[in-house]
Symmetry: C2
Subunit: 496 residues, 2 copies
């Protein structure tokens, strides 16, 4: 067995452990009785210790050195796989076991405290825990920055979106900052000229919503032999390519959120399904990063599923699912419901036009916190200021203010920008796909997503982690990531 | 950290891995989409390699030696825990890693082949795989026998029911062999004097069966904050004490099987729930073995839930669940349905009177196969002969003959006797419980299982693996395991 082959075996084992962790996480969020939480936490902690030991095993480092020394014997995919192994190794080994353990412990404690503090709208009770967790995150960022030779924020970012720097983001976000306020104002002004959408009436039961979600999941190309749809508090996707679990949540009397969550998560699931089969269980066979992952969910949810073509197909299906009749259930009214733009306090409820405002706010604040330019105690004030600036709204409480998202309270800093980078990438990819083949959009109009899926598999999914996010985008769209396709898309959909 | 403390830490980790495996198994049988089977198999194989490496780590052996050398410092529970650690170590280390791997591989292959061969009723196609697997089982048994200083069969038995030997079993089973044919004949003759039970009518939907099952599970004392009920092809119980998953299966139009399966599995679940809290995750905190485990499920299913007292309580609940009216739904008719005795071909469908006949047959055949006195090719003939002898029936095919059970085809030899040992123990424990406190039976008549459960927790569950099966039975009932309580029970229920 060569060093490289030995590494493949070790990383396959790590992938199996992560696959098992995925099932345990899915189960906790969908099936587990409440009393199982403590035992489950211990099982997950043990698996994570085992995985950490495996990747920090000195023998693994020696194998990496040896394999890199003989890299001439490897083909393109193998070389890329070895590079990704080294990247995973570098992330795991940059941080000491004590710090990893402290981060897990304080992250869990802070997240638990967040649940209660959010319910009580009591940021003061949460602040010390966040401050302590932030201190550990800063330590981690500094340790990685020293090894990687980059800034602390970029070191965190690299774990979510490899090879994307805050300089890249700033170039793009400065552009967004410049056009967003005007664009939002224009769209709102245009929509104010028409009466608001009619509210939906009739019996929109959870059962009918689930049936519609399952139908649509299959309609857009997901084979349910390889995954399933369940219910959780927040929608998510987890799993391995042949067994992907997605979730949604049902609001009695309103299907719009549950259906779009299913389409969003199915976008994630289709990316996982389309990853290169020959590289299952290897680092190069994994999804490239969160920007591309989010691009796939948003391409499905925002680009394809809110397109005129799809809504023409979907409107009668939706009417049939709920026995809806009358003008509220017309294609035109459904389109207007799905395209209503309105600044709001809550990120996860935001439309695609105002969404980037939520991200700019969070990006600025998390960078400031990481750089120690913003103290945790001052976060609510800074939040209110940012919401006023970007969304024109007053923040009535911290519950729907700086405590609305779980990310920071679980220790995730550097994740937020990938939502908007993903939205931009989605617009760019969808424009390229429908530009490459006009058949794609007309097929979607008939509920046939196969041509779109074929394009995505060839252009995005099939690369796994062989290329960088930018390389994949350049090959697929002819350009690096930018804002042009997104603004064209918003103007075409909302202002033409 | 002392050697003993280090061992506790290592065994807790092993317990976490097994807990994770339990969730993965449960998920495969209840939730997993079919396409996930291969990836799941790999995840489970990896976890089992990791667990095997942990328990065969030479450092662990050194710790066992050291802790045993200083056993004077340990209290009673700790000493028992150390003893159980050594037992687990001995089982794992008696067999080489190559043989363990071969057993897993051939066991999985043979079990897969069994599914197809059973459907096709093609024993000839399956025989070579069973022969090859049996060869490996024999190797394992011989290796363990050499280390433990016992017979090959006893070495296998010890993994399912520690410290029970085939000599113990023979003493008991010889007794069963002597009384069983006469007892079966007597009961059948008695039942022939009355007309057969009336068949149940009405809409016995799966939904109503599930609702009844969930009600009854709670009624007999299971707290659903710590477990849940789902559907699988064969009913089973798996999990950790604070998160126990049980399953049943629903037959449209007939609730009797699904309800008794729920009560049976709830008996298993209550045992796990009642294990000593202070010893969670340690070997001494586990259930003692399969005989006691089966005694708990059968005590619930056969002793308590088919008792006159319980049926008086349950009959109106059952009628209400299905809207049943008329004589078929009377308490008397329900009792006669649940107590119908009739020799049949299928073990899992057998009543409590004929069940031991199925076990005698399997016990004799598996011992002969292990001793090489019976060749796999001759199994169908020997099976037919045994069924004729013990049940008086002709075997029409191998599907409902020697291919009906999964055990041998997955490599499980030495397991079958625990079913009947469990039935005998159930009778003995229930007699002692209801003899100790007459309040127990009258509470059951009101649907209140709390007094019975309190007795079981104190007498059986709470011991974990501190005492042997025999020690637990002697303390709880005043006698070692025997047949007297069982025959008294059968005579009282069926012949008085």
């Amino acid at each position: 067995m060569t060093a490289y082959q030995d590494l493949e075996k070790r990383f396959k084992r790590l992938s199996d452990i992560r696959g098992a962790e995925g099932v345990l996480h899915w189960d906790s969020a969908t099936m587990m009785p409440p009393g199982g939480a403590e035992a489950r936490g211990e099982q997950l902690a043990t698996l994570s210790v085992i995985a950490h030991q495996a990747i920090t095993d000195p023998a693994l480092e020696a194998l990496l050195d040896e394999a890199e020394g003989r890299a001439g014997n490897l083909d393109g995919w193998q070389s890329a796989n070895l590079r990704e192994m080294r990247r995973a190794w570098r992330h795991a080994n940059a941080v000491g076991a004590d710090l990893v353990e402290a981060l897990t412990r304080e992250g869990t404690a802070c997240e638990m405290a967040w649940r209660g503090a959010r319910a009580d709208d009591d940021f003061a009770a949460l602040a010390p825990k966040l401050a302590s967790l932030l201190g550990l995150v800063r330590e981690k960022a500094a340790a990685k920055a020293a090894v990687f030779g980059c800034s602390a924020y970029d070191a965190l970012l690299d774990a979510y979106d490899p090879e994307t720097s805050s300089a890249d983001i700033d170039t793009i976000f400065d552009d967004v900052r410049a056009f967003l306020p005007g664009l939002i104002a224009e769209v709102i002004e245009r929509q104010a000229q028409a009466p608001p959408p009619l509210p939906l009436d009739g019996a929109i039961t959870e059962e009918a919503q689930r049936a519609l979600g399952e139908t649509m999941m299959v309609q857009v190309g997901f084979d349910t032999n390889f995954g399933r749809l369940d219910v959780s508090h927040h929608p998510f996707t987890v799993g391995v390519p042949d067994d992907i679990r997605i979730t949604t949540r049902y609001k009695d009397g309103d299907f719009t959120e549950s259906l779009m969550a299913v389409l969003h998560e199915t976008g994630h699931a289709l990316y996982e399904r389309g990853l290169p089969k020959d590289w299952r269980g290897q680092p190069v066979g994994e999804a490239r990063g969160m920007t591309l992952h989010e691009s796939q969910s948003l391409l499905m949810e925002m680009q394809a599923s809110r397109s005129d073509a799809f809504l023409t197909f979907a409107a009668p299906v939706i009417r049939k699912a709920f026995g809806g009749t009358g003008p509220a259930w017309s294609e035109d009214n459904l389109r207007r419901i799905y395209r209503k733009v309105e600044p709001g306090l809550i990120r996860v409820e935001a439309d695609e036009v105002t969404y980037p405002a939520h991200i700019l706010l969070r990006y600025d604040l998390e960078r400031a916190m990481l750089a120690d330019d913003l103290q945790v105690a001052d976060l609510p004030g800074a939040w209110a200021e940012g919401v006023k600036k970007w969304l024109g709204l007053d923040v009535p409480d911290d519950r729907d203010g700086c405590m609305q998202d779980i990310h920071w309270y679980g220790g995730d800093f550097g994740y937020f920008p990938t939502y908007t980078l993903g939205a931009l990438a989605a617009a760019q990819l969808f424009a390229a796909a429908t530009g490459d083949g006009p058949a794609i959009l007309s097929a979607i109009g008939k509920g046939d997503f196969a041509p779109l899926l074929a394009w995505l598999r060839a252009s995005v999914h099939g690369w796994g982690s062989k290329l960088s996010t930018q390389e994949i985008l350049i090959r697929a769209t002819g350009e690096p990531l930018g804002t042009a396709a997104f603004t064209r898309h918003i103007r075409a959909r909302y202002l033409s």
